[in-house]
Symmetry: C2
Subunit: 209 residues, 2 copies
DNA sequence: TCGGTGGTTTACGCAGTGTCAAGTCATCAT
DNA sequence: ATGATGACTTGACACTGCGTAAACCACCGA
C-alpha cells in the first residue's frame, strides 16, 4: 500500500484524511464538510468517497481510528485488570470521564447524525452495545463478590451504569452545568456506590455497619 | 383551497402549521422538510418563513406549542402541588417519564439541530435551564424536610436528578435497551431514592404518606 | 512497454434552505 | 366605490453540501 515514498503523501492518505477530519472536528465548533476535510488533508473531495464510500463511512471509520490513536486498548486492560469488580467499576467511571471528554466533539456529530442516517446509527449502536455488554460483565462480577445491593439484578445495574456514564449526561454535567471532570468522577461514583453497592464484609458474615 | 367562511383558513394559520409540523414529526421517521410541512398544512412554503422567520424559528415555536397542547401547566401543578418534597420528586419522575415519551421525536430533532444551529440551541437550553431551576427548588425542599442524605448538597442532587431524567437517558433505557415506562419510573426512582434520600424519621412531625 | 494502483480534475444532478419581487384577494375605513 | 392593508400565493433564483461520473495522469512492478 503506502509505506514511505509514494508520489504524494508520505503517510497513508486514508490515515491522513482521518487524522485531519479528527483535527477539524476538535477545532471547529460545527460539523465540518467533506470539502473542508479534503482541503485540510490536501486531497480532493472525491478521494474521500474513494476511501470511505460516503460521509457516514468516514465518520464510522473515524470512531475506530480515534479509539486506536487514543490507546483504548491500554485503557481497557487497565479497567478490566482491576482486582475486584467494585474497583473495575470505579476505574470505568474514572476512565470514561477522561475518554468521553476527549472524543466529545466527535460524539456529538455522531449522535446528531443518527436521526436520519441509518449507517451512522448502526455504527454508533454497535459501539454502545459492546460497551453495555462489557458492563454487564462488571456488575455480574460485583454480584459474584457479594457486593451488589440486592435491590438490583446485574442486568439492571449494568443498564443504569451504562446510561449514566454515557456521553449525553457527561456533556450536560461538565460542559453545561459546569462540573469539573474530577467532580464528575467523584459524584457519579458516589451516586452508583450509594445506590448499588453494599458495604464490604470484613471477616465472614458480619452485619451491616 | 380550504373551507368556507373566512377567505382562507378557518383556524389560525400559524396554529395549523405548528399542528401539522408536530404531526409530521411524530409520524415520520426522519426530519420533515419545510416543503412537506407547508403542503400538509395546506399552505405555501413561504408562509412558514412569513410566520417563523426560518426553520429554527418554527421548531423553537413548536416547543412551546407542544407544551401548551399537552397541558404542561396542569402537569406542573400536579407535580409541585405534592405535599412533600420527596413526593414531588417521585411525581417528577413519574411525569417526566410520560412527557418525555410524548415529545421524544421532537426532542431528537431539537437535540440534533443544536450542533450547528445557534438559535435552536439557545431555545433548547433555555427550556432545560428552567427545568434545572425547578429541580433545585425540589431538592432544597427535600433538604428542608431533613430527607436529603448528607452526602449531597441540594445543588448537586438537583443536577443529578436533572441529568438522569433527561431525554437522552430516557430514550436509551426505554427505546434502545427496552425497559418499559413503568420499569423506567420504578428503577430511576429507586436509584435516586437509595442514593439521595434518608429514611423518614418518625419522631418529629410525620408528614409521610 | 504495458497495465494496475491511487490518485487527480472537471462537471453535473439533486435536495433543501433562504430570499426576492410581484400578484391576488378579502376586509375595513373613509 | 375606492383604496389601503394584511395574509397568503406564485415563481424564480442563489447557495450550500452531498453524491456520481468520466477522463486523465504519474508511478511502479512484471
Amino acid at each position: 500500500m503506502s509505506s514511505s515514498s509514494s508520489h504524494y503523501g508520505d503517510i497513508d492518505t486514508r490515515q491522513r484524511i482521518l487524522a485531519e477530519a479528527w483535527d477539524l472536528l476538535e477545532e471547529k465548533g460545527s460539523e465540518p464538510t467533506l470539502a473542508e476535510i479534503a482541503e485540510k488533508a490536501g486531497v480532493s473531495r472525491q478521494t474521500i468517497y474513494l476511501h470511505f464510500g460516503d460521509r457516514s463511512g468516514l465518520f464510522v471509520a473515524l470512531v475506530d481510528y480515534v479509539d486506536v490513536s487514543l490507546g483504548s486498548e491500554k485503557l481497557r486492560s487497565y479497567v478490566f485488570g482491576a482486582p475486584t469488580g467494585v474497583e473495575t467499576l470505579r476505574r470505568w467511571i474514572e476512565t470514561m470521564s477522561w475518554y468521553t471528554g476527549k472524543i466529545d466533539r466527535m460524539t456529538q456529530v455522531l449522535e446528531a447524525g443518527q436521526y436520519d442516517d441509518k449507517a451512522l446509527a448502526a455504527g454508533w449502536r454497535n459501539r454502545m452495545n459492546r460497551r453495555q455488554a462489557l458492563l454487564l460483565g462488571v456488575t455480574e462480577r460485583i454480584a459474584g463478590e457479594g457486593r451488589l445491593a440486592n435491590d438490583w439484578t446485574p442486568a439492571e445495574a449494568a443498564d443504569l451504569v451504562y446510561t449514566v456514564t454515557m456521553p449525553g449526561p457527561w456533556r450536560e454535567l461538565t460542559r453545561e452545568i459546569g462540573w469539573t471532570e474530577d467532580q464528575y468522577k467523584e459524584r457519579i461514583w458516589k451516586l452508583l456506590e450509594l445506590s448499588m453497592l453494599t458495604v464490604p464484609l470484613e471477616g465472614h458474615h458480619s452485619e451491616i455497619v
